[in-house]
């Protein structure tokens, strides 16, 4: 486990206000989802999940075909498709377009993909202002923070922190009423929308048979981002494809309910190409940037490929007992929770944070709520095996291997094993029947210490199993 991972976890566990914020927010999201699915609200929920999984499997298994179909349809509607292999290529494209058009200001709607490539910072280096317009993301950007949750980025902030932040960054009087805070953000951002040259969005879905992108939101900022400026750029991972517009019914029914308990979010935009002939408003230019950034590495593995089915609803985060304790910022990358635990090692390599696949109780709650039925616990197990293989290759974990070799040798020598057991029992501190937190100095070797740092020992029994067996 890296020191940073360990430190972040303990920091979060020790912050009682933060613990309450995470617990309360995820509990609300859990309750909303449950309500949206109970009774007759969505009677064919399980069939829809199975169908969504089959649709995603078909698209991902034939991804090259659908990518080309999508591209051809975008072009047919007057847009352009740019393939980017990494963060640099995304930034390079946007920068060169902005330079060509003389653009100064970008408005952005919420997109995990742009978080992944650190979009805003890269553009700021080149004096291009890029403003987040989703309320939560705007606050995160003002605080120079990173999203705490896929769906609710500012989940960890209280209204009082927001009040101080707005006062510090915008110079407005301290305001702790949430409605008024929202109106402050609205008026600042409204000005940005009306003056921005470029709007950058993500995409919840890319539709191959239509050359369209679909955006799902509640605030209206994505609609403004994609309607007000002259140029619209959508940045999306290549796995966001679905084959047909008609399949949207299945995905939209699942997405809103799983994320926030809504049958449909307030706005669902289905956008294809720039403004057409007689249409009154809309952008003059339309670009879709298709990002790889490690996704093609995942495709080769038939089992783990399903990690790319994710529609980013965040339900697995809300239901995860680990996420609900250690929070979003403990995770080593922008994607947190169970889905983050399976895609981070696959995008960035298992050695980026080798402890990540192990930071799970494998309780299976994530798989149970996943609207596209990704078998997250199974992938976590496979990733654990990958970490061990990688450790072997890199010559890591020597101590563990030696310890287990000694253990195996002792297990093959019953008398020695029994003697060691008796010795350990006699060395162990006396217990009044409770579990032991520490062992005497003589036994406190590094591997024992490491083991005990996460666990307690049961009190030594009065008689060993062997003794009982002989006396029976």
């Amino acid at each position: 486990m890296s020191a940073a991972f360990d430190e972040k976890i303990h920091e979060t566990l020790g912050d009682s206000k933060l613990q309450f914020a995470i617990y309360a927010s995820t509990a609300r999201l859990i309750a909303k989802r449950e309500h949206a699915l109970e009774g007759d609200n969505l009677p064919d929920y399980q069939e829809l999940r199975t169908h969504a999984n089959a649709l995603k499997k078909n698209t991902i298994d034939n991804l090259d075909y659908y990518l080309e179909q999508f591209e051809a349809n975008v072009v047919a509607h007057g847009g352009k498709v740019i393939y980017a292999k990494d963060a640099t290529e995304v930034a390079d494209f946007v920068l060169s377009l902005a330079k060509e058009r003389g653009s100064r200001l970008i408005v952005k709607s919420k997109s995990m993909t742009t978080e992944e490539v650190d979009f805003n910072k890269r553009l700021e280096h080149h004096n291009l202002e890029s403003v987040e317009t989703d309320l939560g993301e705007y606050l995160i950007q003002l605080a120079h923070d990173r999203p705490y949750h896929i769906v609710a980025p500012a989940l960890h902030m209280t209204r009082f922190q927001v009040a101080d932040l707005l006062t510090e960054k915008l110079g407005v009087p301290n305001e702790t009423v949430i409605e008024k805070q929202t109106m402050i953000a609205r008026s600042v951002l409204r000005e940005k929308f009306l003056t921005a040259d470029i709007g950058v969005s993500g995409a919840n879905f890319l539709i191959a048979d239509s050359g369209a992108i679909v955006l799902v939101e509640n605030e209206g900022n994505a609609r403004l981002t994609t309607s007000a400026p002259k140029i619209h750029i959508a940045v999306a991972g290549i796995e966001k494809l679905i084959s047909r517009a008609q399949d949207l019914g299945v995905f939209l029914k699942l997405l809103g309910r799983s994320a926030t308990g809504q049958a449909l979010t307030v706005y669902t935009s289905f956008l294809s190409g720039p403004r057409r002939g007689q249409e009154i408003d809309g952008p003059d230019e339309f670009y879709v940037v298709l990002l790889d950034n490690g996704r093609t590495k995942l495709l080769a593995d038939r089992e783990k490929r399903q990690s790319l089915y994710c529609i980013r609803c965040g339900a697995c985060l809300n239901h995860c007992p680990v996420y609900r304790k250690i929070g979003g910022h403990s995770f080593p990358w922008v994607y947190s929770g169970p889905i983050g635990a399976i895609i981070t090692p696959q995008f960035l390599g298992v050695q980026h944070e080798p402890a990540l696949p192990f930071a799970s109780s494998l309780c299976g709650a994530c798989a149970e709520v996943c609207p596209v039925k990704i078998d997250i616990p199974k992938i976590l197990l496979e990733l654990r095996a990958d970490v061990q293989k990688s450790n072997l290759r890199e010559g890591k974990g020597k101590m563990e291997r030696i310890t287990f070799r000694i253990w195996a040798w002792m297990m093959r020598h019953p008398r020695l094993y029994e003697f060691a057991g008796m010795a350990a029992a006699s060395f162990a501190p006396s217990s009044n029947g409770g579990w032991l937190r520490e062992v005497p100095a003589a036994m406190n070797l590094p591997p024992v210490r490491a083991w005990l740092s996460q666990r307690d020992l049961p009190p030594p029994p009065a008689k060993s199993f062997r003794q009982l067996w002989r006396e029976r």
Partner: protein, 210 residues
């Protein structure tokens, strides 16, 4: 160029060749219930009201116009070029501006208007959703910039559900660059999961069924 590089990597990973046909996709799954118009209207109104929207069942065009006139009293309003609005006489109301066909002028009008009035191409009864296709009749910004949105819709345009919409419009992109589904007023819960309406889009929405 990254295009060929990425497509090559995808094909190699999947074991596919360039130009190879895809495996057949699972069947389209659309379920469309039969529902009388009156039941559709009931469902629509119940859903919109559950989302804190206002609804009104107009007996006639003139009745719809009276409702809108009362709702926009003391405010400036921009109306779309939808024929239904003119038929109802809404575009002739004194505080309503209409007839915008040019982007910059429309935008300026919408940015300062207190109210945006549109029709809707379709309405979805089971979710209380307005379906708006960008066209010379309907601009994108009228339902977005002003703080109040009033949609006047014909009862014949009410569909049962999203599935029925997708069966009518299997490829919306063939008709328009933008199809937007609007379900209730703009909202956020980004601070402490507390619901606030009208963050970027309209915080108040009226659906008038004619």
């Amino acid at each position: 160029m990254s295009r060929d590089h990425i497509l090559h990597k995808v094909r190699t990973a999947l074991g596919r060749n360039a130009g190879q046909a895809p495996e057949p996709a699972p069947p389209v799954r659309l379920t469309i219930p039969t529902q009388e118009t009156s039941a559709r209207i009931d469902s629509l109104c119940a859903r919109v009201e559950a989302l804190a929207g206002k609804t009104y069942r107009a007996e006639s065009d003139a009745d719809a116009c009276r409702y809108v006139a009362a709702a926009i009293e003391g405010k400036s309003a921009v109306a779309s070029n939808a024929p239904l609005l003119a038929e109802c006489g809404i575009t002739a109301l004194p505080n309503v501006r209409s007839g915008f066909y040019e982007s910059a002028a429309l935008r300026e009008a919408c940015a300062s208007a207190g109210c945006g009035i549109t029709s809707a191409d379709y309405v979805l009864a089971d979710t209380g959703t307005l379906v708006m296709l960008a066209s010379p009749q309907e601009a994108r910004l009228i339902s977005l910039l002003p703080p109040v949105h009033i949609a006047v819709v014909a009862s014949a345009r009410i569909l049962t559900s999203l599935d029925e919409l997708l069966s009518l419009l299997p490829r919306p992109a063939e008709q328009t660059s933008s199809m937007v589904l609007i379900t209730g007023p703009s909202r956020t819960a980004d601070i402490e999961q507390i619901l606030v309406r009208g963050v970027h889009g309209p915080g108040e929405i009226h659906v008038v069924v004619v």
